[in-house]
């Protein structure tokens, strides 16, 4: 018996020692010649359609750089984060990745992505992009591990017919929104308002927080959402669910409009989707910027970054390809290819917003939203705090907590995760 125990202990010890060796870090990737041929792999987070759109830009690049081939593959949003982490851990996978705006800071901070300052990309792009987004993708130490690939912003989608019937104008302020919801309910609209992208999540709260004059963090990254503005925003947002019965379970913009919801807060990419998914809604809907709060306009700007994995042997070629994505030719190819597939692609180069394949009023709404938009915070620990902060916000929506204690608890979580 003792012999068996000793054998087991020996095997376990050997295993632990071997395990220790197995997870040690390999040296930085050896670089191939910076001007030589290269076969690049690009994991594009998003749909197959979006990957095919990006392949057009890759093909454009290959025409002027015949030695460099770029193969774009789609990576779903659901498991993209885990797959990029697995690639970074295994030091095997794509040369280029795209993903959420915070991913560059996250994976770059782990040592998994290249600081693009070394490749000269930020200088070429920074001045032309929306500044709020640029701040979001820049690490606190100034490193830029991913540059903005595209942008999305919140808009209000509304049913023109239902609003006209209730004699309501698209709301421009919180007061007008409240009054419009009352009028619509009196007019028999069961669900006057719903939220799509980021429903019952910090993303939607972020809009109201900014409109109330609050922020998630102070400029020096101290949690700040438990301010008076934060409480005002949370109470107003929670009332949309509690008092006005905004659905807690998300229906996407096209389905919500078709189901008789009068106003929906959703992402700008849905502009092309409504008529495609719900042809019966044609000419019955329009868009507007989100209503302003006590402190004015405010909307979350999302989107994707694109960057180079640190194990790539072709970092120079990959960075050169990324730089090419900001040329007018590439932007046009991507925007047109996206439009032909029913996707509204908004380049991070703000000068291009006026040329979007959308109606003039939609373009005006998008411009106004971007002008008052903010990207996600670039503070340490925010990415890991999001889910738990969301649960604290939900406690208020579901009547389990008051706004102030919930926000205090959320701030504490953010502080702990800041490390």
């Amino acid at each position: 018996m003792n012999k068996r125990i000793a054998t087991m202990a020996a095997i376990t010890t050997i295993g632990l020692l071997a395990g220790a060796c197995a997870t040690s870090t390999a040296p930085a990737a050896e670089q191939a010649p910076t001007t030589g041929p290269a076969d690049l792999t690009f994991w594009m987070t998003g749909s197959e359609d979006e990957a095919l759109v990006m392949q057009k830009a890759a093909d454009l690049y290959t025409r002027s750089h015949p030695d460099v081939k770029v193969k774009v593959s789609a990576l779903s949003w659901d498991d993209g984060h885990a797959k990029v982490l697995a690639a970074a851990t295994g030091k095997s996978g794509p040369d280029i990745v795209s993903g959420g705006l915070s991913w560059g800071i996250e994976f770059g901070g782990l040592g998994g992505m290249v600081d693009l300052r070394e490749q000269g990309i930020p200088e070429a792009v920074k001045a032309k992009t929306q500044q709020g987004v640029w701040e979001s993708i820049t690490s606190r130490d100034g490193a830029v591990y991913g540059t903005p690939l595209d942008m999305t912003v919140y808009l209000t989608y509304y049913r023109k017919d239902l609003l006209e019937k209730a004699e309501v104008e698209p709301p421009k302020t919180w007061e007008e929104l409240t009054s419009a919801m009352d009028r619509l309910q009196d007019d028999g609209v069961k669900v006057p308002y719903s939220m799509d992208w980021g429903n019952i999540d910090w993303l939607q709260y972020f809009n109201f927080l900014r409109q109330a004059g609050g922020a998630l963090y102070t400029p020096d990254c101290k949690p700040a959402l438990n301010s008076d503005a934060g409480v005002t925003a949370l109470n107003y947002w929670a009332d949309l669910y509690k008092k006005y019965k905004a659905p807690t379970q998300t229906a996407e913009v096209p389905a919500a409009l078709a189901n008789g919801v009068a106003m929906v807060s959703g992402g700008s990419w849905q502009i092309k989707a409504v008529d495609t998914a719900q042809p019966k809604m044609k000419d019955k809907w329009a868009t507007a910027p989100l209503p302003a709060g006590p402190a004015g306009q405010g909307a979350f700007i999302g989107g994707r970054i694109v960057g180079v994995m640190s194990y790539s042997k072709h970092a120079a070629q990959a960075a050169d390809f990324i730089k090419s994505l900001y040329t007018p030719e590439a932007v046009k190819v991507i925007t047109d290819a996206a439009a032909s597939r029913g996707v509204l692609w908004i380049s991070p180069l703000t000068d291009n917003i006026g040329n979007l394949p959308a109606t003039p009023d939609q373009i005006e709404a998008i411009k106004a939203a971007f002008a008052a938009g903010y990207g996600p915070p670039n503070c340490a620990g925010w990415e890991t705090s999001q889910a738990e902060v969301t649960k604290k916000l939900q406690e208020v929506i579901y009547g389990k907590s008051e706004a102030k204690p919930a926000l205090d608890a959320a701030a504490k979580i953010m502080e702990q995760n800041a490390g």
């Binding site: 295993g15 632990l16 220790a20 197995a22 997870t23 885990a82 738990e388």
Partner: protein, 312 residues
């Protein structure tokens, strides 16, 4: 004979081991591919994960040895405790309902006629279907959009749409429903095999003695099915403890890992969240080993209880 063989085996060591190896070489060579895969894909990752559970590791930078700190953190982690309590409630309900319905189905469709075979096949189908496909189907059933079957049916009866996946009180019941629906077919097949091994003579004798159907079930079927029941309960429990897809596919779309208010947060999705969202792979490994210990202890208790009740 046994003594003689034993004596022969205990003979002079010199050369006997080598001879035995030579004699069994073919078997060892044939076992080698399996052993290589077993060691490479099971033993090695297990030991590596045990090592990682004693480290702070973000997946990219080298692991830093922290001793038992990850396990100490588990005891103070409110979300882990919440996930554990959700998991225990879910496991209890899923195991009882899956085993119960499976037994009822087995008794109802134990025969060899085409009707029974057809019904067994129908109930077994979820077990041979991709779990991803199954859970996507459940997601559509409970969707808020106009294709959501549950709300469409509710609408036919004049009931207002229900936020099925965003109502915390419905999360675990929906998960139990999905687990029972997809798991009872497999357990039914095991029970059918067990029921059909019980000699018909026992029932005949009981009927002659005037036993009712219920008395026959209680005094013959249930006691003789005890080993099968233990097997079904233990395997169903292990699968229930490891629930992941239901949370990840059905509830994650409503609100990050764990669903609304963490009402569906279970141990494995929490482990995934820690490892692949928060890059805390050392802590995630500690959660994995804690789950292993919980399942191991509960399984041992069940097996002991099963053995003890058989000896009564």
């Amino acid at each position: 004979m046994a003594t003689a063989t034993g004596g022969h085996r205990k003979g002079p060591r010199t050369g006997s081991g080598a001879r035995r190896v030579r004699r069994n070489m073919t078997s060892y060579v044939m076992l080698l591919p399996f052993l290589t895969l077993f060691a490479g894909f099971l033993i090695w990752p297990l030991l590596n994960s045990l090592y990682l559970s004693l480290t702070k590791f973000n997946g990219v930078r080298p692991p830093e040895f922290v001793g038992l700190a990850n396990f100490e953190r588990l005891l103070q982690d409110e979300r882990f405790m919440h996930a554990l309590s959700n998991t225990l409630v879910y496991v209890l309900a899923a195991v009882v309902l899956t085993s119960g319905f499976a037994l009822v189905l087995a008794l109802a469709f134990r025969g060899q006629g085409w009707g029974d075979r057809l019904m067994r096949t129908i109930f077994f189908l979820p077990s041979v279907t991709s779990t991803i496909a199954l859970f996507l189907m459940w997601r559509w059933i409970f969707a808020a959009e106009d294709y959501g079957l549950a709300n469409t049916l509710a609408g036919w009866f004049g009931v207002d749409p229900v936020a099925w996946l965003a109502t915390p009180g419905l999360t675990i019941p929906i998960m139990v429903l999905m687990a029972t629906w997809s798991g009872m077919g497999y357990a039914m097949v095991i029970f059918v095999a067990g029921v059909n091994t019980i000699p018909e003579e026992y029932y005949e004798a009981a009927r002659i003695d005037g036993a009712t159907t219920w008395q026959q079930f209680k005094s013959i079927t249930l006691p003789l099915l005890r080993p099968v029941t233990t097997y079904v309960v233990v395997t169903t429990m292990i699968a229930a403890f490891q629930v992941f897809e239901a949370v990840y596919i059905v509830f994650r779309q409503v609100s990050s890992v764990g669903g609304v208010l963490d009402s569906g947060l279970m141990i494995v999705p929490y482990l995934y969240d820690m490892g692949f969202t928060k890059f805390q792979l050392g802590y995630a490994s500690a959660i994995a080993w804690a789950l292993f210990l919980i399942i191991f202890v509960i399984s041992m208790v069940q097996l002991r209880v099963g053995r003890a009740t058989r000896e009564l």
